[in-house]
């Protein structure tokens, strides 16, 4: 058995496309969540959907909790620490006032997220006032500076590991845009200066500080009051910083979530346009299927992981062989062998990464021209200055002329034609819904397209087509069952949710597995609304006729197919025959074994059980079914 049949064609060289489905794990991330716990975080609320208002503190906790859950699944090697500031109690290695590092058993302050951490963090709000407490840490008249302390603690936590191999980040949640607003005069200047210096020291150590500001409904978070200096925003960057406006809770959460993840570049590619002009693009995997984690084999006695060893054995001699560098296929009664270099060479059909071939109207891109998830491209001037300008110009022209670009993407695993679709930036309620850039759609070749519909050509001269009345009735249904604000990816994947709720429960040794809600089931209630029912009924009458009975309408206009008819007769017959036996009696007296297999099958068929296996298997199946 070969674990990975595609492995055979994998090149020795770095294969960029294997990342289409799996992101590279090599870049680790250390994150300190720095959450402002001042009374102001509790007093300012944000209107949620169902009358209930949520505090900013709650929103911050919610975002961190979401992020932890994602990390434990997708990037479990990342390490996190959760740290509150402006607290009554203190808990940190430096014993600084107003800073509380939250942690659970069997875990360092900065460590990989565990099931217990997630669980206890989810319950922290109930006991927060009692165990940690909220209290302003910067008060005029004292020289206390909780923000300074918080940065110091966070920086100390991030001391471990090399900044070269690890992304170190501090994510700061606060709704106070002017932390030293209550202080006056020289003290204020002094405190501002020392705090900024502290932040700069952190940056110098390779730690990036990111601000996740929470705006008050009536007043936007003013980043230029203090934080612009702290996080090093100047000029252009400052203009780019989008304060999370948005009055709605969901919007705010959305924006915070987007900002919490670092963008990971899949690859940098060159895009050859025309006449020798090549620009630089970064590619990003914005949409990729998230799969349940891989299976690790364990020793069931010790529960310790096992090492999988793969050995290659020559089928002819039984000798152990090294991983072979040659491949073969029987062809014309011979074995034709290929070296791995030859196979790579066969795939090298184009020079360079991405080459523009021309443009087409958007209508040429059909719904079936798709094979795998798209890749997002965004320009960069880092290496070649002027790239962004060309990209923006083309982007605008393509949007305006409603055209897409066709290009050849010379990847080493599957070189293929791609469509580049320009996507305009979409901003809704202050947040970015779609980033500006282009999406690379992988196009099929003629070899990949099947013409199934032509296999079912109508035997008659022409096929049934809907009448105008039927179309009208269908339109009425469509109008009624309209998902107004449908957004792609509004559903959580119920399989994954279940998977991880099971794992979480098992990891915490809980008895009960929490039920998850399957968001993907149809809205029965909405479907039962009188207007919808009426429209459906009218449509049904229009296409199926007044006296349509679903049960009798089997395949082909009421004619059941041969096989289904046959199956039905068999089961009817079996039920009849089966009723001739007193099965309970036969089972109790152990006389089942005296019956023939044929007779046993009457029972099984009548009860819709499988009829496969030997006689003993049939008997035991019957007994199991009877509960004996």
């Amino acid at each position: 058995m070969d674990l990975d049949p595609d492995d055979i064609f994998r090149d020795d060289e770095d294969d960029p496309d294997s990342e289409v489905f799996q992101e590279r794990d090599s870049s680790k991330e250390f994150v300190v969540y720095l959450i402002d716990a001042s009374p102001k975080m509790f007093s300012v609320t944000c209107p949620a959907g169902d009358q209930k208002d949520e505090t900013h503190f709650h929103i911050a906790l919610d975002c961190v909790s979401q992020s932890l859950k994602t990390q434990v699944i997708n990037r479990s090697y990342d390490e996190v620490a959760i740290c509150f500031f402006n607290t009554r109690e203190k808990k940190n290695l430096q014993d600084l006032n107003g800073v509380f590092v939250f942690n659970v058993a069997e875990r360092e302050y900065l460590d990989r997220p565990t099931a217990r951490l997630i669980k206890e963090f989810d319950m922290i709000e109930e006991s927060f006032a009692k165990n940690i407490g909220s209290q302003y840490g910067i008060i005029s008249g004292t020289r206390e500076n909780s923000l300074y302390n918080a940065l110091w603690v966070a920086q100390a936590l991030l001391r471990k590991g090399s900044a070269k191999t690890i992304d170190k980040r501090i994510l700061l949640f606060t709704n106070e845009d002017d932390p030293f607003g209550s202080i006056k005069g020289a003290t204020k200047l002094d405190m501002t200066r020392t705090t900024l210096q502290r932040a700069k020291d952190a940056e110098d150590l390779g730690i990036s500080i990111e601000l996740l500001p929470l705006s008050r409904p009536d007043e936007e978070f003013n980043v230029s009051l203090f934080y612009a200096d702290l996080i090093g925003l100047e000029g252009e960057d400052l203009a780019q910083f989008i304060p999370s406006a948005g009055n709605k809770l969901e919007d705010m959460k959305d924006q915070l979530r987007k900002r919490m993840f670092t963008k990971r570049i899949v690859k940098r590619i060159t895009f050859a346009i025309v006449g020798g002009l090549s620009i630089e693009l970064n590619t990003y995997a914005l949409i990729r299927p998230t799969l349940p984690g891989v299976i690790t084999w364990l020793d069931s006695v010790t529960n310790r992981p096992l090492k999988t060893e793969r050995t290659f054995i020559c089928a002819d001699t039984g000798a152990l062989v090294q991983e072979s560098s040659k491949r073969f296929h029987p062809y014309k009664n011979k074995n034709i062998t290929f070296s791995m270099e030859e196979l790579a060479e066969i795939k090298r059909v184009s020079k360079g990464h991405l080459r523009l071939l021309g443009f087409k109207p958007l209508s040429c891109l059909k719904d079936y021209h798709n094979l795998k998830p798209s890749t997002f491209v965004y320009p960069t001037d880092e290496e070649v200055i002027g790239s962004t300008c060309i990209f923006i110009a083309l982007h605008r022209s393509m949007l305006q002329l409603k055209r897409f670009a066709v290009a050849f993407y010379g990847s080493s695993s599957r070189p293929q034609l791609v469509a580049l679709i320009a996507q305009d930036e979409i901003i809704r309620s202050g947040g970015q819904i779609e980033p500006p850039g282009m999406h690379l759609i992988y196009l099929p070749y003629s070899d990949d397209i099947r013409h199934v519909e032509e296999n079912f050509l109508e035997p008659n001269f022409s096929t049934t087509q809907a009448t105008d009345d039927q179309i009208k009735k269908a339109a009425a249904v469509i109008k009624r069952i309209d998902l107004k604000d449908f957004s792609v990816c509004q559903f959580a994947n119920p399989t994954l949710q279940r998977h991880y709720s099971v794992l979480q429960a098992l990891a915490l040794e809980e008895d009960e597995i929490p039920e998850i809600k399957d968001e993907t089931v149809p809205d029965e209630e909405g479907m039962a609304r009188p207007g919808v029912v009426r429209a459906l009924e009218e449509f049904k009458n229009s296409v199926y006729g007044e006296n349509y009975n679903e049960e009798s309408d089997l395949a082909g206009d009421g004619k059941s197919t041969d096989t289904s008819r046959k199956r039905k007769t068999i089961s009817e017959n079996a039920a009849k025959e089966s009723s001739n036996y007193d099965w309970g009696e036969l089972a109790d007296s152990g006389k089942l074994k005296d019956l023939t297999v044929m007779e046993l099958k009457y029972y099984l068929t009548a009860h819709n059980l499988p009829v496969s296996g030997k006689k003993e298997a049939l008997i035991s199946r019957i007994l199991t079914h009877m509960g004996k």
């Binding site: 290496e383 049934t464 998902l483 449908f486 792609v488």
Partner: protein
């Protein structure tokens, strides 16, 4: 011949007017046979040539007539010789009569298999249909076609025709056509049903549908690992490599843990949670099989880049006129209103995952193909990474294109057009073959003769897919030049390592410019592969035969039917140049032209 096998008869026109396209015919036919050798090695193939100098077929001997038709190879199981035969087709000297060739082909199939055979029988005709068809001995041409169609139906044969059209007709100009290859179904894949059951609009309204794959990536054949351990003298050696997996304890070195002592563990953070398959089955998510509508929404709500996978097609249950009408009315209403449907699918009972996807209407342009839906998988919340990117408007002024630059870009996007009027659409996925597959099979064949053959260069015709079209670039030289003049690229002085990269790029640009110079000169091959199928290689149909064969259900992947005489061709030719791309794809166009 078993049910899943195919008997294929290639009817190839090798007359003088076909000589220019014979190299392409050879390539496409040999690739077809090569794929059969790999995937369907028990399929049977025969070759009939027409337009030859000689005459060699049974019917000539039995009843006379049928001149210039040669049965090059009777129907038999595919073998390597066949590839070689197809790569060296003889050049004929006479005009060929394709109706004669069709009759000879049918005769071969009938004689070989009789009426009872269950396998597929396919005739593949490649001709330019330039030579007039002779009048039959009895009756009219129409009668003859009628008889042929009837017989095909009786014997369950399908026919595909490719009519190559070279407008220049000048055999000195090598007409190269990769579309030719894309047109041909070189591999026979029977449709796999993904789902058969109800599309539930509501609990009270169901439509019987079947779901099939519409696109699926055709990969290179899976090759086996080669072992050279067996002595060369051992001719029975398999040379295969077996892979053995052993699960060993990490603490206790070398100790192999038997399968019954192993348990699966799933990672959750730093913990690995052990769970047996039985326990897992008991707790895992188990949705009911079924396809349910969640609702309709504006098509603008589903952006194209959210499509996640290869595409499926939803067809109404064949023969069920009510289901067909139901699908058709929904599809047409959706198209009119610019709506799409969101559905939740569990294809099989016992499947543990749910798929949420979008149905888009596929309103058929053809009379005999019912309306259907395309189905694309949409992402779940977990599948989307919502990164934020800076707005372009926030970039510094130096990064913003000025008016002149924008105009140059507009011109480039407008002029570098792959859908020039009268030339049709170039690089349509439906007609663009995979150059890697073609190259692989070419190399495979070379290696079968000389094991040490080097990888052959990419076929000239296939470079149209991987490289910009020289003709298109040449025609738009001024637009390209002005685009080049408007924009300036320079390396970032702060980054050293890119220096080398950039130098490469610069030298690349010089190459490209010299290319452009060449393209300004008259091309060695004038009209190298017109990008358009309508002009140089087009499918035409006579209204009569077309209608007839629809009645007789002569279905096939491309049911390109053939006109009966020259006058008709020239008329359709004129029509052809105006047809839309969709029409070009619909081969059974009902022609308004009267048959004369």
């Amino acid at each position: 011949m078993a049910r899943n096998r195919e008997a294929l008869l290639l009817l190839l026109d090798v007359g003088p007017s076909m000589h220019s396209v014979l190299p392409e015919t050879e390539k496409v036919c040999s690739m077809l046979v090569q794929k059969k050798l790999m995937y369907n090695k028990y399929d049977e193939v025969g070759i009939v040539l027409f337009g030859t100098k000689e005459t060699d077929n049974d019917l000539t001997k039995e009843v006379g007539g049928y001149q210039h038709v040669v049965v090059l190879r009777n129907i038999k199981v595919v073998d390597g010789d066949l590839v070689e035969v197809l790569q060296e087709l003889p050049r004929g000297t006479n005009d060929g009569d394709f109706l004669d060739a069709i009759i000879i082909g049918m005769d071969l199939l009938i004689k070989k298999y009789g009426e009872t055979n269950k396998g597929k029988k396919r005739l593949c005709l490649i001709t330019n249909a330039l030579c007039p068809v002779k009048d039959p001995y009895e009756g009219t041409k129409e009668d003859q076609v009628t008889t042929i169609a009837k017989q095909m139906t009786v014997h369950g044969m399908k026919m595909e025709s490719i009519v190559v059209r070279c407008l220049t007709g000048d055999s000195k100009n090598r007409t190269v056509q990769f579309h030719f290859m894309g047109l041909f179904e070189t591999r026979n894949i029977s449709p796999v049903t993904i789902f058969k059951g109800d599309l539930e609009i509501s609990s009270k309204l169901r439509i019987k549908v079947r779901v099939y794959k519409k696109t699926s990536e055709e990969k290179l054949p899976t090759l086996k690992k080669y072992s050279d351990k067996a002595p060369p003298s051992d001719i029975t050696a398999t040379h295969e490599v077996k892979v053995d997996y052993e699960y060993k304890s990490i603490e206790d070195h070398g100790k192999v843990v038997p399968p019954d002592q192993r348990i699966k563990g799933y990672r959750y953070g730093p913990q690995i949670v052990p769970i047996s398959s039985a326990e897992w089955d008991a707790v895992k998510f188990k949705p009911e099989k079924g396809v349910k509508l969640l609702g309709f929404t504006d098509s603008s709500n589903i952006l194209r880049h959210y499509y996640m996978k290869d595409v499926n097609i939803f067809l109404a249950e064949p023969g069920n006129t009510r289901a067909i009408a139901a699908v058709s009315s929904l599809a047409r209403a959706m198209k009119e209103m610019n709506k799409v449907a969101i559905v939740r699918c569990v294809w099989r009972q016992g499947q543990s995952n749910v798929v949420v996807g979008v149905l888009t209407p596929n309103v058929s342009e053809k009379d005999n193909i019912p309306d259907s839906f395309y189905f694309n998988v949409l992402p779940f919340a977990e599948d989307v990474r919502e990164f934020q990117f800076p707005s372009f408007s926030n970039f510094p002024a130096s990064w913003q294109p000025n008016e002149q630059q924008q105009e140059a870009a507009d011109n480039l996007v407008k002029m570098l057009d792959l859908t020039l009027p009268g030339k049709g659409e170039a690089l349509q996925p439906d007609f663009t073959p995979n150059p890697v597959l073609q190259r692989f099979y070419h190399h495979l064949e070379l290696k079968s003769k000389h094991p040490d053959s080097a990888v052959p260069p990419l076929d000239e015709t296939l470079k149209k897919i991987t490289e910009p079209d020289v003709e298109l670039l040449g025609k738009n030289k001024s637009v390209i030049d002005s685009f080049r003049r408007c924009f300036e690229l320079k390396e970032n002085p702060k980054i050293k390592k890119s220096r080398r990269l950039l130098r490469e790029k610069m030298s690349g640009s010089i190459d490209r410019e010299s290319n452009a110079d060449i393209s300004a000169q008259p091309l060695p091959f004038e009209r190298v592969a017109s990008l358009n199928r309508n002009q140089s290689c087009s499918m035409i149909s006579s209204s009569h035969l077309c209608k007839f064969c629809q009645e007789k259900n002569l279905n096939g992947f491309c049911q390109y039917l053939v006109s009966k005489d020259l006058t008709l061709i020239s008329k359709i030719e004129a029509i052809d140049s105006e047809v839309t791309d969709d029409e070009a794809r619909s081969f059974l166009v009902k022609s308004e032209t009267k048959v004369e």
